[in-house]
Amino acid sequence: MTRQERRRALRTLLLAGGVFGAALSGYLPLAYARRKRLRPPGALDEKDFLSSCIKCGQCVQVCPVQAIKLADLVDGFGVGVPYIDPREQACDFSCDAVQCILACPTGALVYQKPAFLTQRAGAGLATKPVLKAKAKDTEPTLNLKERFGVARLTRPESCLAVQGKGFKGAARGADFDGRMRFMEVDRWKPIKLAAHPYDLKECDLCVRECPVQDAISIDTFTAADGSVRRQPVVHEPCVGCGVCEMVCPVEPSCITIEARGTWLGKGQT
């Protein structure tokens, strides 16, 4: 081997090491992930989702409220993979179906999981969720068999309903860009949340705007000392769309979505 050939071989090895190093470093964000991403409706479980997603963004393109975003370099192997940040823009099902599932070319988002994949306990929905907006239609349900997350009342002490307070004004302020469809405004055209102010005696935004029937309610509790307290309670039909988190007027939100969270049974926190 001549000196020239040796140097070429060394350079080739260095390039190989560099490219492999860069590629495999994509594993680090997965290993050290501090928070889970909320994936679009119908997403397979995280590992399967990452392996089956082809990172084309067709789900992004069909979403009428642009709830779906694509992850960046910091997500490592998850670069280009779709996620939802519900506090900024929740999935409100204003497409009336789950268009993102229909758009997915590889089966990373599915109506029905393939037989060889198992369902985590508490991920499955007891029945197909009924969309409030479609309640009067002949087919009022969403074709969704698993929840993609679940809402949890994480800060009950700050909840306006718990405090017995009402709410007046735009839910997230005048500068908030998040959008939603309001049936009484236009079924097919989502508008800015900022353009839809409220005047409520008791704040019930999370219940009022939840797109799924019977997924959340405000219930009355009587404590041992006889004091009466009102509080939002999440029910089994919750799919984890995140509308409650988006509309919660308290900063930070009192109710949050646990990505890929499961239904833990009645009385869960």
């Binding site: 070429r8 071989a9 350079r11 080739t12 390039l15 190989a16 490219v19 492999f20 860069a22 590629a23 495999l24 994509g26 594993y27 997965l30 590992k47 399967d48 990452l50 392996s51 089956s52 997603c53 082809i54 990172k55 084309c56 963004g57 067709q58 992004v60 393109q61 069909v62 694509l70 960046d72 370099l73 910091v74 490592g76 192997f77 670069v79 280009g80 758009a103 070319p105 590889t106 089966g107 393939p114 060889f116």
Partner: protein, 343 residues
């Protein structure tokens, strides 16, 4: 040399049947795609031998004058301009389909729908199939559609006519060549076999880890998504690659690394669309090899190397047409197998 002498020399040469030469060329060209170094052809047709003899007999001064005369005519950029127009139009169609909601070509280069029909990038499809180990119908349809398309048009035609990283890299190459002319940088060659190693390693990584590892660093996917969904930090990786190509090694990603290029190269092995070399008028000054992304496919233009009078270039050729634009004698042309016979 007089005409009689040429004929005598040609008579003395023992040519090999065209079939043998074609088989040898096929093996050689597939070898080049897989990273082998070019070799001198062992079998040469009689007609080619005769032409080589004639060329060898030409006085040097006469050849030099011919090269000068040929280069006096300025060369255009016909094929480069067409190719850039197609590449930009294709990527713009993705961007506009989303930005203006015209829905003609939805998705990104990794997977898309063209007026509803599934199209799926072959290497991305391979990664997903190996990682997920479950293949749905739409994935099969999209993959077969794209495979058929590029089988016909020449696999690596995708690289130079569609891939957005190719265009960025082409501009980086111009910068590299300008700096190299000033002796500020020099092109560090690598072993082209590395691309095969990468292909196998990334296929193995997808199969073994269940993650589409290559997609995390694929500059094609990253640039395509950035053009459609907006820029992100992932472009830093692309910038690093381009910097490497400017400063250290000319067109390193496309030449030595990209498994997408190899996938499409293999798909296009039997493609009827190719660049064809004709030995007759070639002056062997080698300008075509200087502009070529994959100069090993053009070894055949070196004086005395052509095994036949007509030599279609191999599957590693990206059909970019730079050599066609560059050639002052029209010895390199686009050709569709069978079509020229029909016409």
């Amino acid at each position: 040399m007089s005409g009689a002498e040429i004929n005598a020399a040609a008579g003395a040469a023992s040519g090999v049947p065209a079939n043998t030469v074609h088989r040898q060329r096929f093996v050689e060209q597939v070898g080049l795609l897989l990273g082998r170094e070019p070799t001198k052809p062992a079998a040469v047709t009689e007609h080619a031998i005769r032409l080589h003899e004639i060329k060898r007999a030409r006085p040097k001064a006469e050849v030099r004058a011919a090269i000068e005369a040929a280069h006096a005519v300025p060369r255009g950029h016909k094929w480069r301009n067409r190719r850039w127009a197609v590449l930009i139009a294709a990527n713009l169609l993705f961007t506009l389909s989303y930005a203006l909601d015209i829905q003609i070509l939805e998705g990104a280069l990794t997977a898309s729908r063209f007026i509803g029909f599934h199209l799926i990038d072959l290497n991305s499809a391979l990664q997903v199939m190996l990682a997920h180990k479950h293949i749905i119908t739409n994935l099969v349809i999209g993959t077969l559609t794209v495979a058929t398309f590029w089988m016909l048009l020449g696999g690596r035609t995708f690289c130079s006519w569609v891939c957005p990283y190719h265009l960025l890299s082409e501009w980086a190459e111009k910068l590299h060549l300008r700096l190299a002319a000033k002796k500020l940088v020099s092109d560090q060659h690598m072993n082209r076999g590395l691309r095969v190693v990468f292909w196998l390693a990334f296929a193995g990584a997808a199969l073994g880890t269940g993650y589409t590892v290559f997609e995390a660093i694929s500059p094609t996917g990253i640039v395509s998504r950035a053009l459609i969904y907006g820029p992100g930090l992932a472009l830093l990786w692309v910038a690093a690659l381009l910097l490497f190509e400017v400063v250290i090694s000319r067109r390193a990603w496309c030449r030595y690394a990209c498994p997408i290029g190899l996938t499409y190269g293999v798909v296009g092995i039997f493609s009827p669309v190719r660049v064809k070399y004709n030995l007759n008028a070639c002056l062997h000054e080698g300008d075509c090899r200087k502009v070529c992304l994959v100069p090993h496919v053009l070894e055949t233009v070196i004086k005395g190397r052509a095994a036949d009078v007509d030599v279609p270039l191999g599957p590693d050729c990206t059909r970019c047409g730079l050599c066609v634009d560059q050639c002052p004698t029209g010895s390199l042309t686009f050709d569709v197998k069978g079509l020229s016979k029909l016409l």
